[in-house]
Amino acid sequence: MSVAATFEIEYLQYLGPDGTLVAELPPEAPSATEILPLFKQMLLVRTFDAKAIALQRTGKLGTYAACLGHEATHVGIGAAMRPEDVFAPSYREYGAQFMRGVKPRDVLMYWGGDERGNDFSGPKHDFPWCVPIATQCLHAAGSALAFKLRGEDRVAVTCCGDGGSSKTDTYAAINSAGAYALPFIQCIINNGWAISVPRKAQTGAKTLAQKGLAGGLHCLQVDGNDLFAVLEGMRRAMARARSGEGGSVIEFMTYRLHDHTTADDARRYRDDAEVKDAWTRDPMTRLRTWLSAQGAWDEAQEKAWIEECGRMVDEEINAYLESKVQPVEAMFDYLYADPPADLLEQRAAAIAAEKRS
């Protein structure tokens, strides 16, 4: 028998669910002091998330996609990127975006039904939230192609979910990244569910990381609730991308601790027991335990920081709540650089109708 090809996919985990190390940290791992700001960022994200859900529940926000449980993955991805890199998120990775300068108020504006949320405070070249699943992956690949053609030292990073890994766009992105050897990182955030469809129903593939083999990319699976593993996975992929070795697919194993969105009711399709079990692997708890063991964090600090987070988020919420609705002409003004005559007539009619009503 002759062998055409063999492959091996590595799994990275350093910090176990109980907050102790299960493997030696890599030399590049951050120290306790270095990782602390990221932990604090995770707490900020979790604070924001809870408040956004509450806002929705009281009718002050539209449908909102929570990120509860994804904090280590999201923050780790954001931390690994440079401002000049490009990020093409789905609709959930606020933790990564906050690291890039996007503000909570931007998130709220978007889910609050206002396009200005996407004219956000982050890098002007970053992609907007993307609702059509996984289409953003190809935009990242296109960006990476642009970077390569222009000889720029920039990496395109994109995220999709376990569900999104079934989407043909993800394959297209992976395949083109391989064909052109692009500086591209496909993050597959496997939180176990795509609305009501469990991971195992999406694909017969043993891992989602191996989706990358179809395009000849470097594949890695990491514990997405372990910030050290996330950072190390991203570090390796970034190094490959920047050195011209090409693209990577990283599967982050995490869990969606909330409903899919506030419009969803996960009790219809998901066992409580599973969620309870997932909480034992919460990314926050384990890092808090570790940091405390290192003497880098304590309850008082946590309390103070959580209060600070509350204040910061409330300020953002107020900015959102106080924002004025766009004037009616806003729906015409951003369609074309040079709006055609008929459209200007419709615009005038809409303004007139507005004045009448």
């Binding site: 449908t63 609709y91 039904g113 989407k167 043909t168 609305i195 009501s196 469809v197 459209l343």
Partner: protein, 336 residues
Amino acid sequence: MSAAAKKDAAPAAITLIEAITQALAYEMRNDDSVVVLGEDVGVNGGVFRATAGLQAEFGDQRVIDTPLDETTIAGLTVGMAAQGMKPVAEAQFDGFVYPMLDHVICHAARFRYRTRGRLTCPMVLRVPWGGGIRAPEHHSEANEALFTNVPGLRVVLPSSPARAYGLLLAAIREPDPVIFMEPKRIYRQYKELVPDDGEALPLDVCFVLRDGTDVTLVTWGAQVKETLEAAEALAKDGISAEVIDVATLTPLDFATIAESVAKTGRCVIVHEAPKTAGFGGEIAARLAEECMYDLLAPVERVTGYDTHIPLFRLEMKYLPSVEKIVAAAKRTIAAG
């Protein structure tokens, strides 16, 4: 219909979305080859609950969750239909239908034609359609015009629980592919008695919902409600409006519209899709071709603007309103 079925068919007041579920369940009982597939249609019963309870009744071999990919859904559906099943596929929202177009246009609409009738494609694609529910981006599109220039399809858009039930049954029984767009804004707007009697409605007629003599208001989907309200308002001003629910856009029953306009001499077409090249244009064009001598006034279109439906803070300003319809109707009266 069997006596037992008749007995079961005690009418109940149900919403449009319940009428969809009722039709699906009826036809799944009636015809073993009918299967339902899509994202979250199984245990979750669909994000709009259109398939609620179906997997419990018919099992996961008839109500099938798919991987998250619309190309996959469309392609599998075409393959199954060509091999003798009657798949009813769900697109989760209108804005996610685009990756399905290749299989719908190149294959579903062509199998009979391409093979001279050897293979056919008896499938239904259900598409929750349109705006007005304060949904996120891409959840509010009125994109029926994607399909109306494609030969070989039927494009159906019900506007009441009873019509949803009867038209969906017809769509499933139809030997050719049907795009069945469901106005999600009125999914739960009101209830109506819809006997579960398995009676299909015809796919080749427009429905005259209100008789009138002064102006014909032509519309479909969610706007039927606004249009009927507009007719009511016009009546208060002594203007008698006939209201037509097109229901099946293609193939179009233009005769019913022409007959009405022959009587009223005026026509206002109402739809929420953008105006330019929206399906309203086709109806106005037929009027310009075939009813010019009947027209007492220029045709009017009350439509979405030629821009994207905005996110929900502004979306109601985008959609046709009772006021806009009334104003247009009055313009036609004033014109002649």
